[in-house]
């Protein structure tokens, strides 16, 4: 198959195998070892996308993770993933990719007309353009979103699995280039637990793309030997295809492993990606450095790429990125790149050196190849719109701020390679809290003082000499292992020596190349030009953080890897200050995009969150219960009979409880066993009412307040023995109440001898309710005297129910005669089934939480979290009767604050709408007048609202300002643009004397 730009030989690709792939429907072929980017170039496909704002045609700028232009949509259907960097996408047979950000096609894009309307899109254009009127903002958002933005998210569900994994190590080495490999080797030799992670598919880093030698042999042979040693060691975990994306406190790092992204689809049960959360004793960052683009006119044309990228394409992938090249640089890097291109068969037309003098040693080597070197000159313009056809080269003035000697000469070429110097990759170091120092020689930042246990080595530390990088890596790996408590026995591995390179000649920092009329791009992905940055400064922005946000420079998915230093340089130049005076923007995780799938891991679908099941859950399911989440529990909401809607089912369940017998699974109630000689005193302090006089065998309702005096929880607590209580809490607060009790017991009242133990899970609770409850109990229990005299309301008895050892509590949340039967949880289903069978003659009806809510509201019982919201005192609820005036308790002082003591606070009332069939929505506002149009002051809101088959009408409860004194008044319930009149009543609607529960 024709791959016209494939070299005849060389590269780390497997030429014996051919892989088919398509890009925008065009079928092409590549080889194993290719990335999508290298395969596209091999096929002569240089146009990879359209730019974000101006829809300019774009080609590949880089060959690695810093690529800002080559973002594609990979795969189809539910597996489609937008914004994949073509330079990281490994080729597999059958790969399908599409370009993004173009319509109708990549070659003919209508959006490109915005490029013609450039004056309309200056820096911060959306702040300026899409302002008024506010009513149009949603429409503006639609326009902006259609025009701008990167790829589309797939609509179909992702069929793949994503994994999470925790790990711990002594030394985490980030980056598998020469320095990282040396660090890992030296650390591993001490026996320390080592993880070596690298973003690429292969370890080797810069060695994969260069042609250096070590000790006279190809450097990759050395790397392969180290890798074999590490792979064989039992204490090293090698993680290729793994990007460390976040560096958090206490050496906690997040890494994304692309387990199966290089395959057509994952094997059975294999995750596509795995998110690692690593706690590392020591970290060695060998994250390398990235080459910077030069900022000249039309520097974004397809065919303009980084010199190191071109080198990588020829050396690693066996691809010529063009036929005829010009190179331009402000440092030495372009020279070896020119030689590598020439060796691969690319005709090199010229090398342009911004420095006044060329590098003489390199010059001699280029001379041998017949490559012309032009010093003191710059590329000031690019010919060709969809691809480079030539460049203009002009002479720079001495200060580099202008062009001298005319517009210069044009050189024909289809590839322009640029090197604007090197930026150490310090995103992770900066995330770790490390300080960055400006290095004048590098014209970039290098690592300063570290805050966490981290070392930076190699090019990331601003070192570019291979021998020195290897030595620094070895030393850091060894020192990191030592600091984690591991020492090597015997001598260390031999340190290899690289071939001698010509001594470096100082670079000529130049952040903005003069001349030319085209746009000079600083941020390719965000489409930010030098002019945008200059405009931002002229408009008054001084802080680099503000300039960043205003222009969006550095805010793309590439985190401005190729942008940031140039942007700072342009801003500094415009402000006429030095770069360190401008400072730098903050680096934040993630360094590289992390998919939502990886973040979610296996916490999707049924595993999103724990769904706690009672022992009777299976029965509820089998019997058609509709469930409601309460905390993490799933509770039956109601049990619809065939053909019944929710209201019909709830009404039936409510009637059964009032007229005969109903049964509820109350297992989820929180239960706390409280023991100790001071248990009664302890309860006396945490509840608002008195507990010392409670008799053994009796139960009492209690209310707990927070320190601010607001209702926190409630429940019935029974005295099991002199120093032994069984407390119940609301379902949702079981854990927080236990924590609250432990907090007071352990830290404030250690003198009280009391232990609290959760026993929620030990007990299953079946609550039977209704006039026939005692008759049913009599059938199931023969060792407890059930007569009202012997076993009255608000007492408990130990007995045997349905053959099971049980604690029976005669308490009631429904206002009916009720028994809450507690048995060991393993027997819960057994009890439930026995109760249902025995209760059949009474038409026993299982009821869910909604019927329970109606029943309790009819008799005026509150629900914490429904009638209360953390701002409600017991006095607001009219529950003065439970607030002791004699003793002290948590929250008591707060009740006498002027605000909690005032008498016009929202207070609990009943509400009966004029229309008995109107059920007002919970949360609706209470207003004084009949006109609901705003502005109208709210006097409170509806907290509960139901239809009651017992009352034959609807009823509601609410919190109403000064409501305790307003019974009989008419207020209005505002909702849906109307105001429904309702009479204020006492919050109790049924059996006001409470005689039914006591019966």
């Amino acid at each position: 198959m024709a791959q016209p730009f494939r070299t005849a030989e060389g590269g780390r690709i497997d030429r014996s195998r051919s892989l088919a792939f398509t890009f925008d429907g065009r079928e092409m072929r590549g080889h194993p070892g290719d990335t999508l980017a290298s395969a596209l170039l091999a096929n002569g496909n240089r146009l990879v996308g359209r730019s974000f704002k101006y829809h300019r045609p774009r080609g590949l700028l880089a060959a690695g993770g810093e690529e800002p232009n080559g973002l594609v949509r990979l795969r189809r259907g539910g597996r489609a993933e937008p914004n994949v960097r073509a330079t990281l996408a490994e080729l597999y047979d059958g790969l399908t990719a599409e370009s993004q950000n173009r319509w109708p096609s990549l070659n003919f894009d209508l959006g490109a007309v915005t490029g013609l309307a450039t004056p309309l899109f200056p820096a911060g254009f959306y702040y300026k353009t899409f302002m008024w009127p506010p009513a149009w903002w949603p429409a503006y958002e639609g326009v902006i979103r259609r025009m701008a933005g990167l790829g589309r998210a797939p609509a179909a569900a992702d069929p793949d699995r994503y994994d999470h994994r925790h790990d711990h190590c002594d030394v985490l080495v980030v980056g598998g280039g020469p320095a990282g490999l040396a660090a890992a080797q030296w650390a591993a030799r001490t026996g320390a637990r080592v993880i070596l992670a690298d973003e690429g598919s292969e370890f080797g880093g810069s060695l994969l793309s260069g042609n250096e030698s070590l000790d006279g042999k190809p450097a990759m042979a050395w790397a392969e030997r180290i890798l074999a040693e590490l792979a064989a060691a039992g204490n090293v975990h090698l993680l290729p295809r793994t990007t460390v994306s976040g560096y958090y406190d206490h050496n906690y790092l997040g890494m994304l492993e692309r387990v199966a992204d290089h395959l057509a689809e994952p094997a059975d049960n294999q995750p596509r990606q795995r998110l690692w959360k690593v706690r590392a004793g020591q970290v060695v960052l060998a994250t390398g450095a990235l080459e910077r683009p030069l900022v000249f006119a039309d520097n974004d044309r397809p065919g303009v790429m980084l010199a190191s990228a071109a080198q990588s394409y020829v050396n690693r992938y066996g691809v010529r990125p063009g036929d005829r090249a010009v190179l331009v640089g402000n440092n030495d890097s372009a020279y070896p790149a020119a030689l590598d291109l020439a060796a691969a068969g690319v005709r090199v037309a010229a090398l342009v050196d911004l420095r006044p003098e060329a590098h003489l040693d390199w010059l001699a080597r280029l001379d041998e190849q017949g490559i012309e070197v032009m010093a003191g000159r710059a590329v000031t313009g690019v010919e060709g719109r969809d691809g480079v056809r030539g460049v203009r080269i002009a002479k720079l003035s001495d200060d580099g701020k202008g062009i001298v000697g005319g517009v210069g000469r044009e050189v024909e070429c289809d590839l322009l390679c640029m090197s604007g110097g090197w930026t150490p990759s310090l995103h992770l170091f900066s995330q770790s809290g490390g300080k960055l120092l400006w290095d004048e020689g590098l014209a970039s930042f290098r690592p300063g003082e570290a805050v966490q246990a981290v070392r930076v080595v190699g090019a990331a530390a601003g070192r570019f000499d291979l021998t020195a990088c290897l030595a620094a890596g070895a030393e850091a790996g060894n020192a990191a292992a030592n600091d984690s408590g591991h020492r090597r026995r015997g001598r260390g591995p031999r340190r290899p020596t690289a071939e001698e390179m010509p001594p470096p000649l100082a670079a000529r920092p130049m952040f903005l190349i003069p001349g030319g009329r085209g746009k000079r791009f600083v941020d390719f992905q965000e489409d930010v030009t030098a002019a945008d940055l200059q405009l931002a400064v002229r408009e008054g922005y001084r802080s680099v953080e503000h300039v960043k946000r205003y222009t969006t420079a550095g805010m793309g998915t590439d985190q401005g890897r190729t942008t940031n230093v140039n942007a700072l340089g342009v801003v500094a130049q415009e402000l006429d200050v030095s770069v360190p005076e401008v400072g730098h923007t903050t680096f934040r995780p993630p360094f590289s995009p992390v998919t939502f799938g990886a973040l979610a891991g296996r916490q999707v679908g049924e595993l999103l969150d724990p769904l706690r099941r009672t022992p009777m859950h299976g029965w509820h399911q089998a019997n058609g219960a509709v469930f409601e989440p309460v905390g993490q529990w799933l509770r039956p909401y109601y049990y619809p009979a065939p053909g019944e809607d929710m209201q019909a089912a709830v009404n039936r369940e409510v009637k059964a409880a009032r007229h005969s017998l109903a049964v509820m699974d109350a297992t989820t109630l929180g239960k706390i066993d409280i023991q100790g000689p001071d248990a009664a005193e302890f309860l006396n302090r945490v509840y608002t009412n008195g507990w010392k006089a409670l008799k053994v065998g009796s139960c009492r309702y209690g209310l707990m307040l927070g320190e601010e005096g607001m209702v926190m929880d409630d429940g019935v607590t029974a005295r099991l023995g002199e120093g032994h209580f069984h407390m119940t809490t609301t379902t949702g607060n079981a854990a927080s109440v236990l924590a609250w009790l432990e907090n007071w017991s352990q830290t404030e009242w250690p003198e009280l001898r009391v232990y609290c133990n959760s026993c929620t899970e030990h007990w299953a609770v079946v609550s039977i309710s209704g006039p026939n409850a005692r008759k049913l109990m009599a059938e199931l229990c023969d060792d407890v005297d059930l007569s009202p005299e012997a076993f009255p309301f608000m007492t408990w008895r130990q007995g045997t129910v349905a053959g099971l050892p049980a604690r029976i509590f005669r308490v009631s949340f429904t206002g009916e005669l009720s028994y809450e039967i507690n048995v060991p949880a393993g027997c819960g289903l057994n009890l439930w089934q026995t109760v249902l069978a025995a209760g059949e003659k009474y038409g026993i009806t299982p009821f869910g939480t909604e019927a329970m809510h109606v029943l309790r509201a009819e008799v005026g019982f509150i629900i914490v979290g429904q009638e209360t919201d953390g701002t409600v005192t017991p006095l607001d609820l009219g529950m003065d009767w439970i607030v002791s005036r004699k003793k002290d308790f948590l929250g008591k002082r707060s009740l006498s604050r002027s605000d909690t003591a005032r008498d016009d606070r929202p207070q609990l009332v009943g509400l009966l709408t004029e229309d008995p069939n109107l059920r007002v929505p919970e949360g609706a506002q209470l207003i004084p007048g009949s006109d609901p149009r705003p502005p109208v002051a709210s006097q409170g809101h509806v907290t509960s609202s139901y239809e009651s088959p017992n009352l034959g009408r609807t009823f509601a409860m609410g919190l109403l300002q000064g409501g305790g004194e307003r019974h009989g008044e008419v207020v209005h319930v505002a909702f849906d643009g109307r105001a429904a009149p309702a009479t204020v009543t006492a919050p109790r609607f049924f059996d006001p004397e409470g005689s039914r529960a006591r019966g």
Partner: protein, 199 residues
């Protein structure tokens, strides 16, 4: 009425018995439901020598007093849960303990039905657990014979390290379904075999 206890497992709906294999083959992870065992929560002050002595007398052996430790003796495992908290699992000497501790401030709570245990073993058992638990499972604190009260995904577990590649995972009954599903889902990559959990 005579006592008729029929216990239901919180994993009964997963029909694990039908999946039990004798030979787990090359499955990287083996999972089992352990038989239910009596459990007793014990509270008392480990700084109170008289309490510790009474606790020892009630057990017939010394209780664990250091973090992450378990003492196993004649079918009874005593887990250290905190400076004032232990969990007894197995042949619980309830009455003996109550008598021994009668004079010291303490609490004994029968929590036999609170938790169940899931067995996880096999060459990839640690990898499975590392997906759901943030602790360093290779740390000396979690050597065989040790325990930890910790996190299992978004729930809680009491982890008992039985051997290098073998764990008992004690979870609250209401979380049992979640814990099993999470563990099995995490193990799928390595292959899962359900094995007999012992009698």
């Amino acid at each position: 009425m005579a006592e008729r206890r029929i216990r239901h497992s919180p994993l009964a709906h997963l029909h694990l018995a039908a999946r039990v294999v004798v030979d787990p083959g090359d499955a990287g992870a083996r999972m089992s439901e352990r038989p239910p065992r009596a459990q007793l929560a014990v509270r008392g002050d480990s700084g109170d020598k008289a309490f510790v002595a009474a606790f020892k007398a009630g057990l017939g052996f010394s209780p664990p007093l250091a973090a992450n430790t378990v003492v196993t003796h004649d079918g009874l495992a005593v887990f250290w849960l905190g400076p004032s908290e232990w969990l007894l699992v197995g042949e619980v000497p309830g009455e003996q303990l109550a008598a021994a501790l009668a004079d010291r401030h303490h609490a004994l709570v029968d929590v036999s039905d609170s938790r169940i245990a899931i067995g996880l073993s096999g060459p990839r058992a640690r990898d499975v657990l590392a997906k759901l638990c943030p602790l360093d499972l290779a740390a000396p604190a979690l050597a065989p014979g040790r325990c930890a009260g910790t996190i299992l995904a978004r729930g809680h577990m009491l982890l008992h390290v039985l051997a290098e590649d073998s764990y008992d995972i004690h979870v609250h009954r209401s979380f049992a379904d979640y814990a099993w599903r999470m563990l099995e889902d995490a193990a799928l990559e390595y292959g899962v075999a359900v094995i007999d959990g012992g009698g």
